[in-house]
């Protein structure tokens, strides 16, 4: 029997690349590397998970932007009974992942450990919604992938989405002019600002070490996550299709339908969400925007894929970055990316522009 009964649908990024007659080589290679690495992890971690535990990866590996220098951010997501053996399981997973990774997970201690579903679902806002909890919850929605059994991962994502949607009275009852999940969008916005503020925090506490590389990542990959979150929240109004081609606007109004449609929309990577938007939005100059958005992003991944350039940026003294040729080149890419996003969100499509002003600004 073949592995797949039906061929996997082509990624919107590939469709856009073909339509543009472009060659986004670094994006393509990063996607291949991510798929290969996830497959390798899945094989190596077979049997480590269960119906109550999923090994979840985040970051570039989940976004299909994996380079040879990328670390592997992961958690053991638990949605079931507490078990003293879970700690041993975490150590065992850590050993396997460490053998597959170029370096250890981030220093903040957000990854490489066990995470329980209850805090992710119940602690949204308030003092108990720590920086770590917010990060894990938002990244679970915007850039997570499972290696192995997905049961727990699926359940927790449903639970989190239900919190955001069912408590959003205006969204559920369609009481506003536009059908946008404001509670969810506000948390995506909060997380984006948290990342930006934490950039300053890390620059200070690490005495500038690694700040140049983090600066470029903040302006590109971190910003892309936020962009994909905004588009997800606008997807119903913009009539964007999810990964199966269904549109939320075509479906009957229901809490469960909205959760199901958003979770399918979020199965796309941030780059796929952005590419899908360019492909389906009307009155958009696709050529110009695709060249600048995906061209700049491809070059950005090219820099991250080049071990010498990556190391140079990682070790660059933050006080000298504005004199550094590599940093300035990367910074120019971030400006191209930003300017194209500003055009997309504010100038090219009236609906998107209106939504962005109302829900993204005031």
């Amino acid at each position: 029997m073949p592995d797949r009964l039906f061929p996997e649908p082509q990624s919107p990024v590939q469709v856009l690349e073909a339509r543009m007659h472009s060659n986004w080589e670094h994006i393509r290679r990063a996607r291949e590397r991510a798929h290969n690495k996830r497959d390798a992890l899945k094989s190596a971690l077979a049997g480590f998970d269960s119906e109550d535990t999923s090994v979840v990866v985040f970051g570039s590996l989940a976004r299909d932007e994996f380079t040879d220098g990328s670390d592997i951010d992961w958690t053991l997501l638990i949605d079931g009974s507490a078990d003293p053996k879970h700690l041993e399981l975490v150590h065992a997973v850590d050993e396997v992942v460490a053998r597959q990774a170029a370096k250890s997970p981030g220093r903040e201690g957000t990854f490489g450990k066990m995470v329980f579903s209850h805090d992710l679902i119940h602690q949204i806002g308030g003092e108990d919604d720590t920086n770590r909890n917010t990060t894990q919850r938002i990244l679970l929605l915007l850039e997570s992938a499972v290696v192995g059994r997905k049961d727990a991962h699926d359940r927790v994502i449903n639970g989190v989405l239900q919190r955001y949607l069912s408590e959003d009275e205006a969204f559920i009852h369609r009481a506003t002019r536009y059908h946008v999940p404001r509670f969810l969008l506000n948390d995506f916005g909060r997380y984006w600002r948290t990342m930006a503020v934490d950039f300053a925090y890390k620059r200070r506490t690490r005495f500038g070490q690694g700040a140049a590389l983090r600066n470029i990542k903040l302006r590109m990959s971190r910003k892309l996550i936020f962009v994909s979150g905004i588009i997800t929240c606008f997807s119903r109004e913009l009539q964007l299709p999810d990964i199966t081609g269904s549109r939320l606007s075509d479906l009957p109004p229901s809490d469960a339908v909205c959760i199901d449609c958003l979770r399918r929309f979020l199965r796309q990577t941030p780059l796929e969400i952005l590419a899908g938007t360019l492909l389906h939005l009307e009155n958009v100059n696709v050529e110009d925007l695709a060249t600048n958005l995906f061209g700049s992003y491809d070059e950005f991944l090219g820099i991250l894929s080049d071990a010498t350039l990556r190391k140079h940026l990682d070790e660059l003294d933050a006080r000298k970055q504005y004199e550094d040729e590599t940093f300035l080149r990367a910074r120019e890419l971030t400006h191209r990316f930003r300017d194209a996003l500003l055009q997309l969100f504010f100038e090219r499509n009236n609906k998107l522009s209106t939504l962005t002003k109302i829900y993204g600004v005031f």
């Binding site: 119906e51 109550d52 009974s81 049961d151 359940r155 449903n158 639970g159 229901s254 469960a256 199901d260």
Partner: protein
């Protein structure tokens, strides 16, 4: 009120005679005769003519949840014979099947149950699609406790009910705990089940799989009715 009854296995495990006696004389008209273990099937089928089942307007029979490939044909044949002669649906776990051809002959009397989270197939609307491709005439036994265990938001329950509403034959109801065991209904499960109550037509039989003592049978039926209010009852309250 909806037609609500019990599974004999929930009330008295393999002792179906005792389970029927526990329901005798009560205003309960639905029954599922359970033979969840393979060795329970022959004694049950051999006794059917002797049982007093007159009070039950709806009866289903639950096939064993596991059996060897060598025994499968014999089990399917015996159940098919009972189903055809008595017009009873046969509830089957899709993961128990080794050879689909042996069960396909039950046609519309085959009633496929959606599974709990431990099982490799039949847990979600998407997974059930493959099962119904194998059994195009089969109906659905919607286990609302399983659906809630797979997805506490009841999104999966919604998707199963809306995807297969034409196939819906009966409902299984219980609290399914973290070890996938059936428990009596809790307040949390009652609240969750209400989310999809409108998607279950009022005439569909509900079979409780909750292990309760005889003196609590009617109370549990009341709790089940509370979990799945019909539109008229909900409006009246």
């Amino acid at each position: 009120m909806r037609p609500i009854g019990f599974s004999s296995g929930a009330l008295a495990f393999a002792d179906f005679r005792r389970a029927i006696a526990m329901l005798h004389g009560k205003d309960i008209h639905c029954l599922e005769l359970s033979a969840l273990r393979e060795n329970e099937l022959d004694p049950l089928l051999d006794s059917l003519d002797e049982l007093d089942l007159a009070q039950f307007a709806y009866i289903a029979i639950h096939a064993p949840s596991g059996f060897s490939p060598q025994r499968e044909e014999c089990i399917a044949d015996r159940l098919a014979s009972t189903a055809f002669s008595r017009k009873w649906p046969v509830i089957l776990h899709p993961d128990a099947v080794h050879d689909a051809n042996l069960w396909r002959k039950l046609g519309r009397f085959l009633c496929i149950e959606n599974m709990d989270k431990r099982k490799p197939v039949g847990r979600t609307a998407e997974e059930l699609e493959c099962v119904f491709d194998l059994f195009p005439e089969a109906t659905l036994c919607f286990d609302i406790g399983h659906a809630r265990q797979v997805d506490a938001t009841m999104t999966e329950a919604y998707l199963i009910l809306t995807s297969y509403h034409d196939r819906l034959q009966q409902v299984h109801m219980s609290e399914v705990n973290t070890r996938s065991k059936h428990d009596p209904l809790s307040v949390a499960s009652v609240l969750a089940f209400r989310d999809v109550a409108d998607l279950i037509p009022p005439e569909i039989p509900v079979i409780l799989e909750t292990p309760v003592h005889e003196e609590l049978v009617l109370e549990e039926i009341g709790r089940a009715a509370d979990a799945l209010p019909t539109r008229e009852l909900a409006a009246a309250s």
